[in-house]
Amino acid sequence: MNMSSDLPLFSRRRILQGTSSGFGYLAFSALSTWAAEQGTAGGASPLAAKAPHFAPRAKRVIFLCMSGGPSHVDTFDYKPKLAADDGKESGRGRGGPATLLAPRFQFKQHGRSGLWISELFPNVANHADDLTLVRSMHTDLPNHPQAFSQMHTGTSQFVRPSLGSWALYGLGTLNENLPGFITINPPAQNGGAKNYGSAFLPAIYQGTKIGAAGFPGGGAGPGRRAAGGQETMSNISNPRYPAEVERTQLDFMQTLNRAKLQREGYDPQIEGVIQSNELAFRMQNVVPQVMDLAKETEATKKLYGLDNSATETFGRQCLMARRFAEAGVRFIEVSFGNWDQHRNLTADLERNCSAIDQPIAGLLTDLKQRGLLKDTLVMWGGEFGRTPHGQSGDGRDHNNKGFTLWMAGGGVKGGLSYGSTDDYGYEAVENKVHIHDWHATILAILGLDHEKLTYRYAGRDFRLTDVYGNVVKEIIA
């Protein structure tokens, strides 16, 4: 809790309520304080870019969110002893004895750094020297809804703003013709909209959903639903009129609005509506353009695996993420489901990884080629990992005590393995990183002090990290 920052932040909510996104508010002394504090030009909209607390390492985030809990011991956490002790008894099964299950796939060292990565990710492995594997992650609970919610909002017990909302609230956006926080194909289960909601933060900071989400409350089902169908944004295009006709309609509407404003003399809300209408009109022009991949070269499409039915969907979404990043969106999340391998581990992992390996590698390559990787933080991971012991023969159970997430690009050291689990990958033991620490670190990379990024609600200052969180300085370049 930082008392010194109370005053300016406290006035912020009132400003947002009172002034929409209008202009001419320097009359509000509170706003001038706020604007001065934020180092922005006075009267800026709540989405305008704001100065971070300190020099940022990355300007934006692309979070590749793997819902369901991918197995770390088969992908990014190399455990030779687990391979050696295959079939030995482990006393840790749910409801009875269980035996250790060797990694289903071979690991090899990659890059100059020699990071161990499994054969499931041959293309991502080519970027080994850009990756920081955080192999000592842990989270509070081994259940999907709680862990997924904690990964997104820091807590499973309360309704709190999402990581992306906090980032947007702290930094504003770089392109006001686009939403500042976009989530592509978010799962509807495990908290659904809450995971990209702004909770008590003003609604303008909530994530904008792209893509048809699966059915709410549904568990992980096989097939297409993992990656979602064709991507759309709600109400982004007019089902009836082409743009020029809609423009005529809007002109009429804006004439009415301006006449109203003239009668009132001064009305920030009406000004706000006029502005919003214009912005919406531009957005409906810009968003489909950003989402339209037709102008990408064949080489780029191939890079993301758009030429292959297995990689096409996730590839398209990764490419879209790059386009959003390029266009100035602050926080982009792309979800891929179906990592809950209680059984059919081998086949499902092969299927999932072959659907995402090429697209992710393509994304990293593409960002690098365009000079974007140096200030874009790319993150990959799920809400928890899986147990070293087997389940139903060829499966693994949930494991919140130890798992791996990785980061690449802006702000993180490449070719680094940070922290570790025990010999079998069951529990993080060295340099443990809790989800709160991960959040604190992401904010730090974006130039935000997680203890200072607060919002006053219901009588107290809230943070993404509550009263926890340590920045993992060792992974920041």
Binding site: S20, G191, N235, L256, E264, D267, S392
Partner: protein, 830 residues
């Protein structure tokens, strides 16, 4: 890794200790801050379990919860030597350098924390903790310095004082006020040397009050009748009619539902449905419509099950009222039952204290309230009351739901509708048969699994889980019907447990750390003297009676402030849910108390209070801009004009339905959530239903947490998991996109256009009708010109875009009508 105890004599160290502790007395702020931020939290979190006076068993003779204890050290010697890292055992232990002494045993601290400890020791281990021992881990908990809360002093804070009458202020402009409200307001305006702006025009005022009281625009008929009525009490008559309309309860009921965080699903980890939440919604609407006195309104919501009743119908209504405590969001999948019980009670305390008392008692769950005089033990005194009550919210037990409960069967004699269809006796028998079969299969699978385990093999746990899920669903489904397949009359609510319990104070709010047990009771600071302990049952009835009594300093004050907020867009206390030290101060404290006293004197009648406020001249001011006033008071805290407000989500949608002639004022009984039934299957059925257009008032739309309809969620609808007395009013492009591009909006525009087209024979007549219907006024000459321009340009554009020969007239009129509904004027109240 295991902690190893090594024995060393500590006699010499005892002698050294005072000298050491004397050396670093008088810490700089920086030193204290360093300790509080970096060191103490780690000690509390990582060490106190074994090394503090409150540890079950102090390990190694070492206590770290006092400065002296830390310096004296334990069996191994001093834990640290200020200034000397190498000789400090504590540093050696946390570095994990010595296999025999690795601390904390559960896992090495992050390097950054170890570095902090090293820095601290190098600084000379500055330690602000005084006193020989601290008995309670909580006392030293976290970053905060504990101070004993002085309740008696706390009572002097304005919000904890009972409302007191003030003489009505004298004003210079005696002809302006219509009543006392106006005198209180004008006096403050005059104090600043200002004048209120002119009164609102009659049409403007009619539109304002119709929206404010019913959430709908005035119909052209009402407008005509009102404009013809030139008698002095014409406006009062309109107000009385609006208050008598059922639309009032629907709109003001929704206000309360914001505060009561109304939702029809669990909303947290597993978003299972609450198919019977709608009964509470309908009860609220009905209570507002029959003007149930507010004190009674509160009392029934907290303890309706314990109140006397006339007949079965009356009793049922009162039980339904307690749904208030049952409809909150819950972590249904919480695996620890104690944790779940504490979360449930916490949600109830949080909601009740913010909604009725305007204070944030839940802040005292983990520690004494940091800003308000509410000690942690007051929180657990209240928690005892809720833990002694059984909350009944239904849901089927399943893999994602560890915490199902029963529902209340109100019985046929309640006369209440079921809200869903029955099944035939044969269907019911079939359902029962399927359940029996599943149970049989489960028993068999259990035996197989046990055999497998005995043989040292892995059991088929997944099959067992699947069966559990199936049985949960089937028995939940079966429980909805009586023996003959008729739907049971089910409700959410609260009952007293047979044996009440007192709650311990949980240190740091953690379920694993129960401390001293406190008797069930109330918040001390809200009483003139020491509050009584609970004498009967859970204490909920006494709690309800106290909330509803004139002696409660806050109940009336908080509610009149809410009403003021709903009518003016800003409360006299702007932080309507928090009157505590971190809330804002009232802009007009005397007026606030005056209103609270009037409210109670007039039998806690919400309708009377609303009437009094809207008949004030203050409410009837124009929204005009006045530069001098604006310079002095840009936020209009003085009420020198009416603040222009955004039409809320429900009113916007309802108004579109109304002007398009599509509004259905006779909603289907119950809720689509009830018809969808419970569980995942229910959610699946509901998901398809949610895509269909609906024409009933917004208050009847299903409010499934995290699945709030777009028409509401885009326009700052209250988050159904949080107490919301002060909705935001944001202005985002997504709203414009919705109004321009959404299919249902276009469908309503078409319907509105058909009405408009049929209303007159010519274009001027139609334009007139459209403006009167949508905006409650005639179009200006400029607007008529703009409309003509629009029609001609539109026809040209559309002709280019559309295939030749098709009739463009309907599209043009639809686009015209849509523009009116999407206009700033339609979306704002003057």
């Amino acid at each position: 890794m295991k902690p190893v105890t090594v024995f060393l004599p500590s006699v010499a160290l005892l002698a050294l200790a005072p000298a050491l502790s004397g050396a670093d007395a008088g810490l700089s702020d920086e030193q204290s801050r360093f300790f509080e931020r970096k060191i103490r939290p780690v000690l509390v979190e990582k060490c106190y379990d074994c090394h503090s006076a409150s540890a079950k068993k102090v390990k190694g003779g070492l206590v770290l919860d006092t400065k002296d204890g830390t310096l004296q050290g334990g069996d191994n010697g001093p834990a640290l030597v200020p200034g000397n890292i190498d000789d400090s055992l504590l540093i050696a232990a946390i570095r994990y350098g010595n296999k025999d002494m690795e601390m904390p045993p559960k896992g090495k601290l992050p390097d950054s924390v170890i570095a902090d400890f090293e820095t601290w020791v190098k600084m000379g281990a500055p330690d602000p903790r005084t006193g020989p021992t601290v008995a309670d881990a909580n006392t030293a908990s976290a970053q905060w310095q504990k101070k004993e809360i002085d309740i008696a002093a706390g009572r002097s804070f304005w919000a904890f004082q009972p409302p007191k009458p003030s003489p009505t202020p004298t004003v210079k402009n005696t002809s302006w006020p219509k009543g006392d409200i106006d005198r209180f307001i004008l006096a403050r305006i005059e104090e600043k040397g200002l004048q209120p702006v002119a009164d609102a025009g009659r049409l403007e005022l009619l539109r304002r009050v119709t929206f404010d009281l019913t959430g709908l625009p005035p119909s052209p008929d009402l407008i005509q009748a009102y404009m013809k009525d030139t008698s002095p009490d014409a406006f009062a008559r309109v107000v009385d009619n609006l208050l008598a309309s059922e639309r009032f309860g629907e709109y003001w009921g929704r206000h309360w539902l914001d505060v009561a965080r109304y939702g029809e699903s669990a909303g947290r980890d597993a978003n299972v449905l609450y198919p019977f939440a709608w009964r509470y919604r309908d009860w609220v609407i009905d209570a507002l419509n029959r003007d149930l006195p507010y004190n009674e309104f509160v009392k029934q919501q907290v303890a309706g099950d314990l109140l006397p009743f006339k007949d079965a119908a009356d009793q049922s209504r009162k039980i339904i009222a307690t749904g208030f405590l049952a409809i909150g969001s819950k972590p249904q999948n919480e695996r620890n039952p104690r944790q779940f019980a504490l979360e449930l009670a916490d949600e109830q305390i949080d909601t009740l204290s913010q909604s009725v008392l305007g204070i944030t008692i839940a802040c005292a769950r983990c520690h004494d309230h940091k800003f308000d005089p509410i000690p942690q033990k007051d929180y657990y005194a209240l928690a005892g009351i809720f833990l002694s009550s059984e909350t009944l919210y239904g849901t089927n037990r399943g893999l994602q739901n560890q915490n199902a409960s029963d529902l209340i069967d109100l019985g046929r004699e309640s006369g209440m509708p079921a809200g869903f269809e029955g099944i035939s006796p044969a269907q019911r028998a079939q359902l029962a048969g399927r359940l029996e079969e599943a149970k049989g299969t489960q028993a068999e699978s259990f035996r197989t699994a046990q055999a497998a385990r005995r043989a040292g093999k892995e059991a088929d746990n997944l099959r067992l889980l699947a069966l559990r899920q199936q049985i949960g669903t089937l028995s939940g489904e079966l429980n909805r019907y009586d023996e003959s397949g008729n739907p049971r009359i089910l409700a959410m609510g609260v009952y007293d447990r047979p044996r009440p319990i007192d709650s311990p104070v949980f240190n740091r709010g953690e379920a694993t750390q129960p401390g001293t047990v406190v008797p069930r009771g109330f918040v001390q600071v809200l009483f003139h003297e020491t509050p009584p302990h609970v004498a009967r049952g859970s204490g909920r009835l006494e709690l309800a009676e106290w909330l509803a009594s004139r002696d409660n300093p806050q109940t009336a004050r908080v509610m009149v402030n809410r009403m003021w907020r709903w009518l003016f867009g800003r409360g006299i206390v702007p932080t309507v849910d928090n009157f505590g030290a971190m809330g804002e101060k009232p802009s007009h404290p005397e007026l606030l108390d005056h209103l609270a006293l009037r409210f109670m004197d007039h039998g806690w009648s919400i309708k009377k209070m609303v009437r009094e406020i809207v008949l004030s001249r203050t409410y009837q001011l124009a929204t005009l801009h006045a530069p001098q006033n604006f310079a002095a008071d840009p936020e209009n805290t003085l009420c020198w004009r009416m603040t222009s407000r955004t039409v809320d989500a429900e009113s916007l949608r309802d108004a579109m339905l109304l002007v398009s002639g599509k509004l259905d004022l006779y909603p289907q009984e119950g809720s689509v959530v009830a018809r969808a039934s419970e569980g995942r299957e229910g959610l699946f059925r509901l998901f398809t239903t949610l895509q269909e257009p609906r024409y009933d008032r917004s208050v009847y739309l299903p409010i499934v947490r995290d699945l709030v309809p777009e028409a509401l969620s885009l326009f700052d609808f209250a988050n159904p998991s949080l107490v919301t007395g002060d909705r935001e009013a944001t202005n985002v492009p997504a709203q414009s996109l919705y109004l321009l591009n959404n299919k249902q909006v276009q469908e309503l525009s078409d319907a509105f256009a058909r009405r408009v087209y049929a209303s007159a024979k010519d274009q001027p007549g139609r334009i007139q009708f459209a403006f009167w219907t949508a905006l409650g006024r005639a179009p200006t000459a400029e607007e008529i010109r703009a409309a003509y321009t629009f029609f001609s340009e539109y026809t040209q554009d559309a002709a280019k875009a559309k295939s030749k020969g098709s009739d463009l007239t309907p599209y043009a009129w639809s686009a015209f009508c849509q523009s009116l509904m999407a206009s700033a004027e339609f979306r704002h109240l003057d």
